[in-house]
Every structure is written in structure tokens, then in C-alpha cells.
């Protein structure tokens, strides 16, 4: 599939980077409102509408939103759509509105929406952004509906309000309560990982189907996660990514290269110190203290350089 095509974006949202089961984003509504399949579906579709439209508008406005105030700007855009959706729900689906309650206004701070705006819509043209939001929303809806259906089935013996288990079935109340949400979500994620591992064992390429914040998923590689996890001194998990970074450093001017080498040396030293720290004496405390300011400076530098890199990419 072609990068950024409509189908690729939809596939990405529903399967590859499913926000609930793969990225584990938006856990608050996932755990709180999925007491029944209907609630899950309603929450999912509401979020989908907000996600797709806000992605579209943010993408259209991406050249006008200043980098420094982008988060407040995103929130204003998202909040307007949430208000609209809530008024529509109040007018046409009052029962669903009551069932979802406070979680409708809370869509404003749903991290899937802010995450997609930040990592995709802000850097990409409107059409793919719209379908990115749509795909993510559909993936979210499917996951929430499944969780809701399982909880409703075990907790009340019904799915979408229709009783399907025999009358002799004794409801296991815990599944409609908060702990049940954790059980079901954990089981679904486990099944997802199990299937993934089976595919990997058969030799199918599943490296692109990352779980959590693995380095290979597209939305993570150039956004918040990378900065958080690739701090100076922090060991990089994926050697390939590490190598790629080194290559990048080589192509840049000599100064950068020298810097990065210094950094790696320093980190090596620090590691040795840390190891030594396990057996040393009092002045170790002072050493650690003196280390800290340097480290923060380094971090700041790395962040700056990475941001520059990111900016170059976008252009």
C-alpha cells in the first residue's frame, strides 16, 4: 500500500496502530464507559466524528498555527467539535447522552485525538489526515464495542440488550464493574499479542505491527515518544534505529559528529560510574549531584537538535 493513501491510513488506524489494543491510548473512556456494547459503540462513533473532523481542520490550518501555541489551538478546535457533537447527542440521542455522561466533554482531552493532531494532522495534507482520523476512530470503535460486548455478555447475559445466554446463567457482576474492564482489555491485548507472535513464527512480516511505543511505528518515530525515550545516556532499545541515527550524524557537519562522539563517551563514563556506585562510599552522592546539571544540558541539546531534524524533515 502506498504511504499516506486513503486505504493505508484506514488500515493503519484499524489494525496496525489500533489506538486501544496496540497503542493503548485513550484508556479512560475505554475502561469507564464500556459497560455495554451499545455504550462502547456510541462512545467510539462520537470520538470518530470528532477525530476525523478535528484532524481535517487542524491539517487545513497547519501552516497558520504557530508552533509554540499549537496545543491550545488544537484543544480549541477539538473542543468546538465536541460541543457540537454533544448538542447533537442531547437533541437526538438523549439516552446515550445520559449513559455516556461526563465522558463526552472529556473527549476534548482524549489523548488519541491530541496524539493524532500532534503526530499526523499537523504535518500532513488534509485528505490523508481526515482518513487517518477516520481509521483511528473506527479502530477505537471496534475495540470499544468488543470490550463492551464481552463485559455485557458475562455481566448481564446480553449483547446490545438482547439476552442470548440461557436463563440458568448467573450473572458475574464483576464484569460490569471497573475490574471487569481491566480483565477484558488485558485478555484482548494478550490475544492480539498471541496472534502477532504466531504470525511472526510463521515468518510473516509483523515488524510493522508495533505494540505500545515500539520504535518502528510511524506515528512515534518523530514525535513525543522518541524524545522521551532517546535521552542522552539512555540505552537505545532498537540497534537499527541507533545505527540510523549515527548515519544521520555522519552526514551532518563535523561539529555535530564531534558532539555526538563526546556524548557517547560521556555516557559510557557515566555508566561505569553508575556501576561503580553500587560498591562505593559517601562521596558518590556528590558525584551524582554534580552529574545532574550536565545531563539536563545534554538533554536540552539533544532535544534542540532533534527538533531541528524534525523540522527539516517536514520541509
Amino acid at each position: 500500500m502506498k504511504q499516506n493513501s486513503v486505504a493505508e491510513r484506514l488500515f493503519n488506524g484499524v489494525i496496525k496502530e489500533n489506538p486501544t489494543l496496540v497503542l493503548t491510548l485513550g484508556m479512560c473512556p475505554t475502561l469507564a464507559v464500556t459497560t455495554s456494547a451499545m455504550n462502547g459503540l456510541g462512545m467510539g462513533l462520537t470520538t470518530t466524528a470528532v477525530l476525523a473532523l478535528s484532524n481535517l481542520i487542524i491539517s487545513l490550518l497547519r501552516k497558520f498555527i504557530p508552533n509554540r501555541v499549537r496545543i491550545p489551538a488544537f484543544i480549541v478546535i477539538v473542543a468546538s467539535f465536541v460541543t457540537m457533537v454533544q448538542l447533537l447527542l442531547e437533541a437526538y440521542l438523549p439516552s446515550l447522552n445520559v449513559a455516556l455522561g461526563v465522558y463526552i466533554p472529556l473527549i476534548v482531552v482524549n489523548c488519541i485525538i491530541l496524539g493524532r493532531a500532534e503526530s499526523y494532522a499537523y504535518h500532513n495534507p488534509p485528505i490523508p489526515s481526515f482518513f487517518d482520523g477516520l481509521g483511528m476512530g473506527i479502530g477505537f470503535s471496534i475495540a470499544l464495542t468488543i470490550i463492551g460486548a464481552v463485559r455485557e455478555l458475562l455481566g448481564t447475559g446480553a449483547v446490545f440488550g438482547y439476552h442470548i445466554l440461557p436463563d440458568g446463567y448467573v450473572n458475574i457482576n464483576i464484569f460490569v464493574l471497573a475490574p471487569g474492564a481491566f480483565f477484558v482489555l488485558a485478555m484482548l491485548t494478550a490475544i492480539q499479542n498471541f496472534v502477532k507472535n504466531k504470525l511472526a513464527a510463521k515468518g510473516k512480516d509483523v515488524s510493522k505491527v508495533g505494540s505500545g511505543c515500539s520504535e518502528d511505528c510511524a506515528s512515534c518515530s518523530d514525535t513525543a515518544c522518541s524524545k522521551r525515550f532517546y535521552d542522552a545516556g539512555a540505552p537505545v532499545k532498537n540497534p537499527e534505529v541507533n545505527a540510523a541515527k549515527k548515519d544521520k550524524a555522519k552526514t551532518e557537519p563535523k561539529k555535530a559528529e564531534e558532539k555526538s562522539e563526546e556524548k557517547s563517551e560521556e555516557t559510557a563514563e557515566k555508566k561505569v560510574k553508575d556501576k561503580a556506585g553500587a560498591v562505593t562510599e559517601e562521596n558518590n552522592a556528590e558525584e551524582v549531584k554534580t552529574d545532574e546539571p550536565e545531563e539536563t544540558e545534554e538533554k536540552a541539546e539533544v532535544k534542540e537538535t532533534e527538533e531541528k531534524e524534525g523540522g527539516e524533515k517536514d520541509e
Partner: protein
Amino acid sequence: MAEEKNVEKLYKISSNPHVRSKVTTGSIMLMVIIGLMPATGFGIFNFGIRAAFVVATCVASAVLTEFLSNLIFKKKQTIADLSAVVTGLLLALNLPVTIPLWMAALGSVFAIFVVKMLFGGIGQNFMNPALAARCFLLISFPSAMTAFETDAFTGATPLAALKAGEEINIQNMIIGKTAGTIGETSMISIIIGACFLILVGVIDLRIPASYLISFVAFIMVFGGHGADPGYIAAHLSGGGLMLGAFFMATDYTTRPITKWGQIFYGIFLGLLTGVFRIFGPGAEGVSYAIIIGNLIVPLIEKVTAPIPFGYTRKAFKAQQKGVK
């Protein structure tokens, strides 16, 4: 000749450990089972033969679940260490005698599969499996789990009666001739089992004593009856307090390992139980208190980690911060 032999023994070279204890997991678990026998026996005597069926169901399904999950996870069989038997037995002692047998079996499956095996098997569970299963059943089937009415006993459990301000017979409570779960009613038989465990060195008094003392202190201050011995005795012998203090809170996997940590842990459990019993909506609070206590055990251990020989307190703290 004899001397030569001794010399040979002395100079036998091997890597450490050089001295081995004969205590194994299995032998400790066997001691715990023996310690639980008086309470189990009294439960069966008190509630009739159905109690024996509940116990048998719980133990059998716990062992079977551990066997099957070891097969599924392709791990070494661990049923021989008897820990599943202990879990099943403890769960059964925490159930009312009227419970449907399939619920008892479901509880065992939850205890062993979800709480124990999914987290890595024996020694890896973060929460007491039997108590977690009891709370799971209590939340899932509240009516079946609080159906204490039997042919022998009608009416509320003594703790519920106490909370409602009704008259209670303390002598019956101490002997155990009251309504309640299978193993919790008889204070005397639990204490006999606990004394056995303390004598053979399986448990020590740190957790139970700090638990019971802090609990008594709490109800003396907040219970509204002051130091009334009848009220305190009723609270001590009623509900699952004794069973919890001697057999559940002292579970090796889920208690703190440091000495001071165990004392803090006991005090924390005592206060929490007091809060649940006096200010909570229900009459009982031991099981919730212990599983909440299990959750803060890592924090307790971190705070009470002993200073290694040769360190000063300052250097040790600094090093801990550095590791972070």
C-alpha cells in the same frame, strides 16, 4: 581412620552454599495445611458434610488449574509443592457453606490462574490468591457469598449483629458456634493451628501481633465503646480477623521481607480493618484490608530496606538515589 574421614569432609571443595536447610516449599506448605486442619475440622463439624464438599471442590479445582496452566504455559510442574492445596483450602475456609459448588470452583480457577499463574507462578503473585478470589466472588455474587443462613444457624453473622447494636453471645463466638464462613467462626481452633505454626517456626508473631494490637487500639479509640472487653472480644473473634491475621497476612509471597516492614504492614492492616469495620458500609473488612496491604508491600520494603554492613545511613541513601 575416623580422623581421616573428618579431614576429608572438611576439605571437600565446592562452591557455596555450604550449609543447606532441609526446609522446602513443600514442607512449609504441609505445615500450613496441618495448621489449618483444626479450623477445617471444626467447620465441617459445625456446618455439616456440605462444608467438606466445598473444601474438596476448592482444593481439587485449585490443583487441577495449576496442573493445566503449567501444561499450557509449558512450565515445570509445581503442584507437588502443595501451594495450590493451601490456596484452595484457604479459599474454602473463606466461603459460606451454602455457596454453589461451581462458584467455589470458579473462585479457585481465578485464584490460581489469574492471580498466581499469569503473574509467573509461586512466589511471583503480588496479591494473596485466596483472598483475591474471595473478593472476586464477593463482588460478582454478593447474595450467594453472604448467604450465611443454614439449618443450624439463622440470622445475621455476629459482626453484622454487633454493628446493628444487637445482643451477641461472646462465648459462642469464641468457640465458633455462630454463622459465618466455613473456617472463620472458631477463634479457638484457629489459634490452636496458629500456635502449631509458630512452634514449628513457619510463621512468627510480628505481623499477627502488630495487626491485632493496632486493630484493638483503633476500635478502642473509634469504636464508641471505649475499652469495653466484651466489645473488643467480639470484634477479635468475629469475622475473618483471626484467620486473616495468622494465615493470610503472613503469606510468604505477599508480606514484606524486612523485619520492620512486617511490623508496619501489620499496623497498616490493623488500621485499615478498623476503618472498614467501623466506618464502612459492611460489617467485615479483613479481606479487603489484606489485599490493599499486599499492594503497598513494595513501598514498605523500599522504605524499610536495611542498611548493609559497613555502610552509613547517608551513603546508603545517596546510593539508592543514584541507582534511581
